[in-house]
Symmetry: C2
Subunit: 374 residues, 2 copies
Amino acid sequence: MEWSLFAKAEKESMLENEKLKQDIIQKFGTPCAVIDLDIVDRNIAHLQALCDNAKLANRPHIKTHKSPLLALRQMEAGATGITCQKLGEAEVMVRAGIKDILIATNIIGAAKSGKLAALLRDVSLKVCADNPTSLNVYAEAGRAAGRPVTVVIECDTGQKRAGVATPNEAVALAKIVQHDPWLEFGGLMFYPPLDGWLATQEFFDTTQAGLSSLSLVPKIISTGGTPNLKNLGLLDGATEHRSGTSIFNDRMMMAAGVANIEDCALTVYTSVVSRAEDTRGILDAGSKTFTPDTGGLDGFGLVLEHPKARIYKMAEEHGFIDISNCESRPSIGDILRVVPNHVCVVVNMFDQLVAVRGNHIVDVIPVDARGRLV
Amino acid sequence: MEWSLFAKAEKESMLENEKLKQDIIQKFGTPCAVIDLDIVDRNIAHLQALCDNAKLANRPHIKTHKSPLLALRQMEAGATGITCQKLGEAEVMVRAGIKDILIATNIIGAAKSGKLAALLRDVSLKVCADNPTSLNVYAEAGRAAGRPVTVVIECDTGQKRAGVATPNEAVALAKIVQHDPWLEFGGLMFYPPLDGWLATQEFFDTTQAGLSSLSLVPKIISTGGTPNLKNLGLLDGATEHRSGTSIFNDRMMMAAGVANIEDCALTVYTSVVSRAEDTRGILDAGSKTFTPDTGGLDGFGLVLEHPKARIYKMAEEHGFIDISNCESRPSIGDILRVVPNHVCVVVNMFDQLVAVRGNHIVDVIPVDARGRLV
């Protein structure tokens, strides 16, 4: 393209973008969480292709978007099922017609076993466990529903979060499962640290031997994590992968080397509402929009219009932005698009996502599973 | 009381508390945000008494509870009005019948000026400003509604957040307000740093002189902040105070010396769901319940049952708890009550608060203004 044509195209694209900003502020106001569906589609397809290439089933984690609509898009693209972190999230997804669900946390307590039983009457569920108390809860729910719960044993290979610490414990839990008529052994779940795949292989192989001696065959060997997409296929024996963040991506995924800026589907539109000092701006989005989760990065997001700006501090409804290094400094009323550090926790602050394609608003997507804490 | 009687009473109280925990988990599950209305009532009365003693109007900030029901309780106890941070919060409060509202942030943008005009048709509103662009938005809304907006000039005396930095700017804005038929000058708003009350006095006195020369008399001189309750009355000329957190209190307010543990009305009930390691427990409440906001304190909350436990890390739905120093170590299935570091951001994660008196559930209070980000 000739330079003059290129400049014209760029100017038109900027004008188009300015028009979208005005549409957003007219219809929704700021702060507003906006997702670009073209990028979302691409990200969904990309994850599916990565899993296909590694011959793994794709079980995306819905914690990132909490939207049945987007979960269904992932299923249509080839996902075999989804992952939920909370029972309440699973309830929302079942209502949307999704039937293959893994709940990736221990579920404890009376209200939960009742809810679990209610869900089990509609669908077969896979639930993870790392202890016998959870197994009791699941067996109780299975008995109440008249349908066994499929149990996936959570194994810790270095995250030091939940998960049994040794293959022996994994096998011991599998044995309890084997002997309970209301439980069915489903397999093993791992969330390997980035550099912990060798250790995961060892853990798996040892556990596998123990399971064989019980004549148990795991159907599911699940790995997880979006940064771990670069390790996909490293665990010999894995059957599926759980990735959440890859549907939207964020600054953390860029830092982890699994996404580029053009893969970031969600931006928060925020207005500059104060310029009390020459080098300081105040945004109308603070910790009740972005949360204080920096994900270990400097600042609270990347400002697309002013990449040299630094969001350095958050009050509940104020974002503090240092604009001293900006080529041109934003004015009061300017709308800035911010790529968040950690998109999962940001989506969780919104009741809806505004969906665009290019520079046109095409939909409003409710975050239906937000607030389903139980 | 004799020791044996005392021991009996204590045992009964523990059993009662155990019964409440079982009620909570049966009816709601964990994590669950529970407020003790006896403490809430006491905190509301205490704030009112502090303001009365200092001869200041009490304008509590609803950002902490986001509940019209609780705002109405504060009004009944003597508050003259309320403070909101967002226009959307004000909409919820107006719907509940509250008429005296100060919005304590700059409001910018088309959607907002339309919403502001719509609200103005129902009630007279006080809105703060630190710049002429905001004033334009307010005047436009006033014109559209046919009723002027009362403007309170936000002044910065050391927080380095929003607010004009000098008395001259404050007076210049007041002058713009004076000459716009759709704006009415209301007064000045301060959020003094704990050690910035002398500077605030100087700022106020100088501004006051400037306002006098314009024949402007501020009706409202507003100070804010719960830690600032210990400075109440230090600003000669102040007419009102805005305190949010004092209705519930939290670990930050304890650290600030304005609350004791028995003044903390809100606890998060959370279950121990994993004990994968001897010294590590995992709670079913992580950063999507507590947020990563530590408020500068160590750990993410105070565990009432195990004061020596330390919540040292958060994943989205996992709270990591170090129990190595506990006298007795919690088991899987134990319900723990956690006083959060920063209660305002925690309430904001819940759709409802379960209200108890002593050990009985008496109500479920919706957090109606949650998610009103615009």
